[in-house]
């Protein structure tokens, strides 16, 4: 982690991934990216979902896309031509995906080159992975230094996340080099009321199965949906909301700060039980 108050010398590549679709990868990529940028870091968020791009919409940049990741990977455009600077936070950039191509248009060498170039000028490179375990997802995680595993408290999502964690441990460059790839869990769409009624998996159960440290819990909230629909990450659109605070805390934990994880509408004692819970990865 970067030292306090200094610009990090080493850039970090973080993949936001889940296996399952619709759990909140893109929303979380945009929100974490924006939150990191709001903390003063230079951030680029890359959309790896070639053919089904969404990140441009969620970040409100859909009318500004000229060149995209595929153009850069294939050498048809230079990186600065494809990068879109956010209009609200000046240290936040977007590298959009192509909507008209498919994942086969990406190559490992090309993606590696783009990420190496981005490492020169950005502190954080956030890779928004597509759903699934195929080429798009494997390329998004390939060069990652750490992973944010987005999971809903549901058995299908948890199992898919477990599958993705296995791939993070075997298919990434770091894993192949025998290095440790840090993996952290971001629990999204958490509904405290349903969890209290036992209709949803408990946080403890998810952590017990996935056995990775908890980065944060984002409650299911209309604020998140509204923010996506208006094309503005929730940390910018409604900074006072619970979701914005949860994303901001998660971003600060990524930056190395120690902040207790608050379970949404936590009963007394849950907080202390969750805090500091670090399972073996």
């Amino acid at each position: 982690m970067a030292g306090e108050g200094t610009v990090s010398e080493m850039s970090k590549v973080v993949v936001v991934t889940s296996g399952k679709g619709g759990v909140g990868k893109t929303t979380s990529s945009a929100s974490l990216g924006a939150a990191l940028a709001q903390e003063g870091h230079k951030v680029v968020v890359i959309d790896f979902d070639v053919g089904l791009r969404n990140l441009d919409l969620v970040m409100g940049a859909e009318r500004r896309v000229v060149f995209d990741l595929v153009n850069v990977v294939q050498g048809d455009a230079k990186l600065p031509q494809a990068l879109i600077r956010d209009k609200r936070v000046e240290t936040l950039y977007l590298l959009p995906a192509s909507q008209t191509r498919d994942k086969d248009a990406l190559t490992e060498e090309g993606v590696g080159r783009v990420i190496d170039d981005l490492r020169e000028s950005f502190d954080w490179i956030v890779c928004d992975s597509p759903a699934g375990i195929e080429k798009g997802a494997t390329l998004a995680m390939r060069f990652a230094d750490l992973a944010v595993v987005v999971t809903n408290p549901e058995v299908s999502s948890v199992r898919d996340s477990d599958r993705i964690i296995g791939m993070l441990d075997s298919k990434t460059r770091r894993a192949e080099d025998g290095e440790r790839l840090e993996k952290q869990l971001l629990l999204t769409r958490y509904d405290p009321a349903r969890a209290a009624r036992g209709e949803m998996m408990k946080v403890e159960d998810v952590l017990e199965i996935l056995a990775i440290p908890l980065l944060g819990i984002i409650a299911e909230s209309p604020d998140v949906l509204t923010a996506s629909n208006v094309g503005c990450p929730v940390t910018l659109h409604n900074p006072a909301s619970a979701a914005a605070r949860a994303y901001r805390d998660a971003a600060r934990r990524l930056l190395g700060e120690t902040i207790a994880v608050e379970a949404p509408q936590a009963r007394r004692g849950l907080m202390s039980r969750l805090f500091g819970r670090k399972a073996a990865a």
Partner: protein, 253 residues
């Protein structure tokens, strides 16, 4: 089978000596006695070599770096002199270091590539069990039964296959993961996926887990899915074994 493998197995000590000759410089000669293994091939060779191969596979280190003396008396008596080179070649092909022959005269080997073999080694037989104990020191101790230690959780979609022996998992085996072992499976954590044991050892193998939440367990050719063992064992420390042709699950706590 191994029981018939070493009908003539014994050991012989061979001493190395060199002719001092009439060299100008002083030649230092030391005596050393070493242990050699004596094997006696028996026709039909097909069976005998199959047994040898089996032995080599089971205890790969047994013949390693150990001089071998071949007792050819039985070969000569039962299969004639033409069978002698066949036996020697078969033994050498398997990587055994043949230094001498017994039961044949030097004239029988003369003119073949085996002529260099010593045919008049002296030594005394030492009684010993070929497999149970190392013949001398630890050099030829049979290797321990291999096992595979998996020191992290087995994730959904991962498949750990180890045909040579046991698998030990320290951590969970996730739903949608599978662990397949030639021997037994030991899971120090929740078993939520599949575990199959006994690929090689058959019904001898067992499955142990700290917490049974498995989708399927199997030993040898028998298997059971979760619905067959009911809720009574769910979440408990369980042993799975084969008992008289059926799979038995029992709680360990």
């Amino acid at each position: 089978m191994p029981a018939q493998l070493y009908p003539g197995l014994s050991t012989a000590a061979s001493a190395q000596a060199a002719d001092p000759g009439a060299a100008m410089a002083t030649l230092r000669v030391r005596g050393r006695s070493i242990m050699a293994l004596v094997i006696a091939p028996e026709p039909p060779f097909g069976d005998w070599f199959a047994a040898l191969d089996e032995q080599l596979r089971r205890t790969a280190g047994f013949f390693a770096d150990r001089p071998v003396v071949v007792d050819l008396a039985a070969v000569l008596e039962n299969a004639g002199r033409d069978a002698v080179p066949v036996a020697l070649e078969g033994i050498e092909e398997r990587g055994l270091r043949v230094i001498g022959a017994e039961g044949v005269g030097p004239n029988l080997l003369a003119g073949t590539r085996w002529a260099r073999l010593a045919t008049s080694l002296h030594g005394r037989d030492v009684a010993q069990a070929p497999r149970a104990d190392p013949p001398a020191g630890a050099a030829a101790a049979p290797p321990p039964a291999p096992s595979l230690l998996v020191d992290r959780p087995v994730r959904s979609g991962q498949s750990v296959v180890f045909e040579d022996g046991d698998i030990i998992v320290v951590g969970a085996v996730a739903s949608g993961a599978e662990v397949i072992a030639g021997g037994s499976v030991h899971v120090y954590g929740p078993l939520r996926g599949r575990a199959l044991a006994g690929l090689k050892t058959g019904a001898e193998a067992r499955i142990f887990c700290r917490r049974l939440e498995a989708e399927l367990v199997g030993v040898d050719q028998f298997y059971r899915t979760a619905e067959h063992w009911g809720p009574g064992l769910h979440g408990r420390a369980v042993q799975v074994r084969c008992d008289r042709g059926a799979l038995q699950l029992s709680a360990l706590d």
